[in-house]
Amino acid sequence: MSSSTDSPTLTTETTQLSPQPDTETAQPTKKITLKSSDNQIFEVEEAVAMEFATVKSFFEDSPSSTDTVPLPNVTAKPLSQVIEFCKEQIKFKANPDEAQKKKYHSEDLLDVLNQAVADRIENKSVEYVRGFFGIDNDFTAEEEAALRQEHAWAYEGVDED
């Protein structure tokens, strides 16, 4: 528990990766504008924006672009959360302090997202889950009934939905 007590320090090699968002004294970093599907504008530092594969490939295709990057697959709320996450992730990459490492490893973005989706479908009906994932039911009524019968134990104590 009482692991490393060294306070994390930023080295010159890592300043480029960690643009210290809380201090304005450092040299001005390039800002990139992102736009969510509901037309909200987010201005973020380049390093943060480059954490997004979509943004990265956008600039790889047109390196000199100063345009706003449209992100049509995401609305403002989750986007702001992801941006916050990326900021933290960058801070962490710059300071892989042991104590922090533990914390952030368990909070891998993918983990967070997977858990969020799992939470959304926990205890939801099969119909809801099909709708949520945009899946068409390819079972015949007979097949579905047989499947249910085969796994009757899983339907015990469950109200029909």
Binding site: S37, P70, N73, T75, N114, A118, G134
Partner: protein, 409 residues
């Protein structure tokens, strides 16, 4: 003002961003999501979403869950001292109140699946969540899964007269199929035979073993451990030579024996405990005044035992005073301690006497009381062992009505 990309997003329905992402999820991510559904029954119900999900849940999610399933408790043979009556009972891993009904609810729940009332001797094995029972003189075997509330009657083999010592070979992480292995004692000299029923083929086959496992059932421990196609079983007898671990390779159809560690120093007539720890075979036994814990390395070839832990009984003697006096009184002599079982996923050794079960956590040298028998009750030990139970979600095939079943995909 709106870009073409925005226009596209605007066309789709509410919440489409998630739907869009989820409909194009790679398999491994979908598995990760499904794996996180805490209600396992709900996960099984989601097999109805579509054929693809049905297969993905059966073929990937269930094995993955099986590998990390929480360890629940122990099935053990109990003795009512006054009447000498024996019965099967269950100890949940989490301590139960002393007034828990007897037999445990769990025993009642799986017994209700069987077409007969199982007596103590009818319970044969418990392997990775499945239970094996036998009934009658021409043995009729039954395999139960208490989670799915299923009981499969194994087709009878009429040559199997009077063979009722059998074990289950089942590893849901590797395959949803299981095997029932019956040891034939009718031929006293090697090669001896075992009969193997495979749930995959629905039929019995005969396997010969290159060496004898002796003419008497009494020399073999009842409990087998199954790992990677091999069934491990220990022998014990007054002759030191026979303290071995027999390995029956069910896939290759051969067998061999591994010497137990420090066999000259092991109690010659008593049984240690074999078990799995993170898919390694382990052995625990009392050596002098210390409970030892070995791990088998290089098990496919020569096999080499490595001592991982030992607990001195004196340490336990000093430690148990923290438990109440009654417990200590029930212990009887400390030297009566035997290893009972090993935790399948963590380094925990379960041991005890006829009156109590304790767990030892080598990591921090912690000893905990798991269970204390009631007055007039004992945990039977030795050849008859304590079976760790870990639930599994695997559905059993019904051999009785194979033709009527439409549902096997």
């Amino acid at each position: 003002m709106t870009t073409s990309l925005d226009g596209k997003a605007g066309e789709s329905k509410n919440c489409s961003c998630v739907g869009f992402l989820c409909s194009s999820l790679p398999d491994d991510m979908l598995v990760e999501i499904l794996y996180r559904i805490t209600d396992r029954k709900h996960l099984i119900r989601l097999k109805s979403v579509c054929k693809y999900w049905n297969n993905l849940i059966s073929d990937v999610c269930v094995p993955k869950i099986s590998d990390s399933s929480p360890f629940r408790g122990f099935i053990y043979h109990a003795l009512r001292v006054s009447s000498r009556e024996t019965y099967i009972d269950y100890i949940p891993c989490a301590m139960t109140p002393a007034n828990a009904p007897e037999p445990h609810e769990f025993v009642k729940s799986y017994s209700s699946l069987l077409p007969f009332e199982p007596a103590r001797g009818d319970f044969l094995d418990c392997c990775n969540g499945l239970l094996l029972f036998v009934e009658g003189s021409i043995p009729q075997y039954y395999v139960c899964n208490p989670v799915t509330k299923q009981c499969a009657a194994i087709p009878r083999d009429f040559t199997l007269e009077n063979i009722c010592t059998a074990s289950l070979a089942f590893d849901p992480f590797k395959s949803p199929h299981y095997r029932v292995v019956c040891f034939d004692y009718s031929e006293p000299k090697p090669p001896q035979r075992s009969r193997v029923f495979s749930s995959e083929t629905g039929s019995w086959t005969i396997q010969e073993t290159a060496f004898g496992y002796g003419p008497k059932k009494s020399r073999l421990a009842k409990h087998c451990i199954y790992l990677d196609g091999v069934l491990y079983r220990q022998t014990a007898s007054k002759q030191i030579d026979s303290k071995r671990l027999l390995c029956f390779d069910l896939n290759r159809g051969n067998s061999r024996a591994i010497e137990l560690p420090e066999k000259e120093r092991l109690a010659p007539n008593d049984y240690g405990c074999i078990g799995l720890l993170r898919r390694h075979l382990c052995y625990s036994d009392l050596l002098g005044t210390a409970l030892h814990f070995w791990l088998l390395e290089d098990r496919c070839k020569n096999g080499r035992w490595t001592l991982i832990h030992n607990i001195n009984v004196d340490y336990l003697g000093n430690h148990v005073h923290r438990l109440d006096r009654i417990t200590i009184a029930r212990f009887g002599e400390i030297s009566a301690l035997r290893p009972f079982a090993l935790h399948p996923t963590s380094e925990v050794i379960f041991f005890g006497t006829r009156g109590a079960m304790l767990s030892y956590h080598p990591e921090d040298r912690r000893v905990e009381l798991i269970y204390r028998t009631k007055k007039d009750r004992q945990i039977m030990k030795g050849q008859i062992s304590v079976f760790p139970y870990t639930p599994c979600l695997v559905n059993l095939k019904d051999f009785g009505q194979l033709d009527c079943s439409l549902s096997q995909p």
